[in-house]
């Protein structure tokens, strides 16, 4: 049943793909304008000059509009991903749509997981789309800086590989470092969303002032988890001087917090649901 819930959740939120496509498309427009203008100036115009010398006249106007649209799309992408995930939980499980969702033969824990997994996937895809959009814009500069694409890629790989050294044990390689980074990111996102879900599940169990109560619960849970974090990690940071071990312990702590928020949200949806 969880798989079916996730399938329907992705179908209901598939419009995210359009937003990502718009972001990448606008980046492509900027890259093309850059490429055309740099090529027209002889290919090495950026090597020692100002960008204002490269793009002038009508192109500059179009470029300015494109950059503004790109900046707007960047903001819109992230607000859509985060606000969309939070709003989806509220309307689908705590609003009128909850009358349908909570009478499906699935458990509250499955409902939460079915909201959480797509939210994390969309967030990661949003980050990838944003990074890809910057990479696309950089492509527009390539003729100017004279660095071939494969070389840029290799430089990136080298940088990432060396950054991965010492994360888990000395000599850790790219794949392990990437996995560790991804795992930390997923756990951090899970903690973030479950913190909000738990706050809303508690806040919306009340009769009145439900949104304000959710914010209040969010603050209380933040303080509680922050104090616990300090109590655990202040002595640990004195005891250990290995940053990577501490980082992994922090990830473990985030996972425990996420599990705690999950249990709170599931219990309130099961025992204190209050649809109005």
């Amino acid at each position: 049943m969880l798989g079916k819930l996730i399938k329907h959740e992705f179908k209901a939120t598939k419009s995210m793909l359009l937003i990502f496509a718009a972001l990448l498309g606008m980046a492509a427009v900027i890259a093309v304008i850059l490429g055309i203008n740099i090529a027209a100036k002889g290919g090495d115009a950026l090597a020692g000059g100002e960008s204002s010398d490269v793009i002038t006249g009508t192109s500059a106007m179009i470029m300015m509009l494109a950059v503004l649209a790109f900046a707007f799309l960047n903001i819109f992408t992230f607000t859509s991903v985060f606000i969309g995930a939070i709003n989806r939980f509220r309307t689908n499980l705590l609003g009128n749509e909850g009358y349908l969702m909570h009478t499906l033969p699935v458990t509250p824990a499955q409902h939460i997981a079915a909201k959480l997994i797509p939210a994390i996937v969309w967030t990661i895809l949003g980050i990838i789309a944003a990074l890809a959009s910057y990479a696309i814009i950089m492509l527009g500069f390539i003729p100017g800086i004279g660095a071939p694409l494969p070389e840029l890629w290799n430089r990136g790989i080298d940088a990432f590989s060396s950054a991965g050294e010492g994360l888990i044990f000395p000599g850790a390689q790219l794949a392990l470092a990437a996995l560790e980074l991804l795992m930390s990111a997923v756990v951090a996102l899970a903690q973030f969303y479950l913190h909000i879900y738990a706050s809303m599940a508690v806040g919306y169990s009340l009769k009145n002032h439900r949104a304000a109560a959710s914010v209040g619960v969010f603050i209380v849970l933040s303080i509680a988890s922050g104090l616990l974090d300090s109590a655990i990690f202040t002595p640990l940071s004195n005891a250990f001087d290995n940053a990577s071990v501490l980082m992994n312990l922090e990830t473990l702590y985030s996972a425990v917090c996420a599990a705690g928020f999950y249990v709170i949200a599931a219990w309130f949806l099961d025992r204190r649901l209050n649809l109005q």
Binding site: A12, R271, N274
Partner: protein, 233 residues
Amino acid sequence: MSEYILDCGGVTKRFGYVTALNNVSLRLTPGKIAGLLGPNGSGKTTLIKIINKLLVPDEGAVYINGLRPGTETKKLISYLPDCESVNGNMSVDELIGLFSDFYADFRADTSRAMIDNLGIDPKVKLKTLSKGNREKVRLIMAMSRRAKLYLLDEPIGGVDPAARDYIINSIITNYSPDAAVLISTHLIADVEKILDEVIFIREGSVLLHENADALREREGKSVDAVFREVFRC
């Protein structure tokens, strides 16, 4: 397997200082259509929510086919809430897909035939339909299941008389003969003709639970007339 499809015993629910349900006990047997009749705020929706596990009672117990409310009982209950519970951005096709995925007893062909009879394009989003058609679509979804217990909360509230006839006709022609139907409403005259049993509820307490024909015979008047007399302000 219980003799009663629905068995509520001593159900009490309080919201702060307000007692929404006070020691409610009632039983329904399969094959009967019962009307849960009471004025606004009498506790009808609260009781239906508790049966659906959308609320947890403070006291008492509810059994559906011998089971406490939970994931298993949701497979047995077909519920029509008294609000717009479907995302308006969904199409009728997507709604049918959702019900097919989650309810093994859902008859997609029946629902498609009924939607077709109404002349509704299954590809259009629900929010583009009229209120009456959205109500009909939600009812079609509920009645296209082969459920053991149908809980219909105000199914004819807010629709025109022609739509009411369609809804009532859909209920009596589509419910499973081995199922029980509980219809909550305060529009007695429209549903009276299809009721086998009537349950009067006021201020969270059951005043009366009786066979509809026996009530009419005993009082010498329609259920609607008895209701107006009992609930006169």
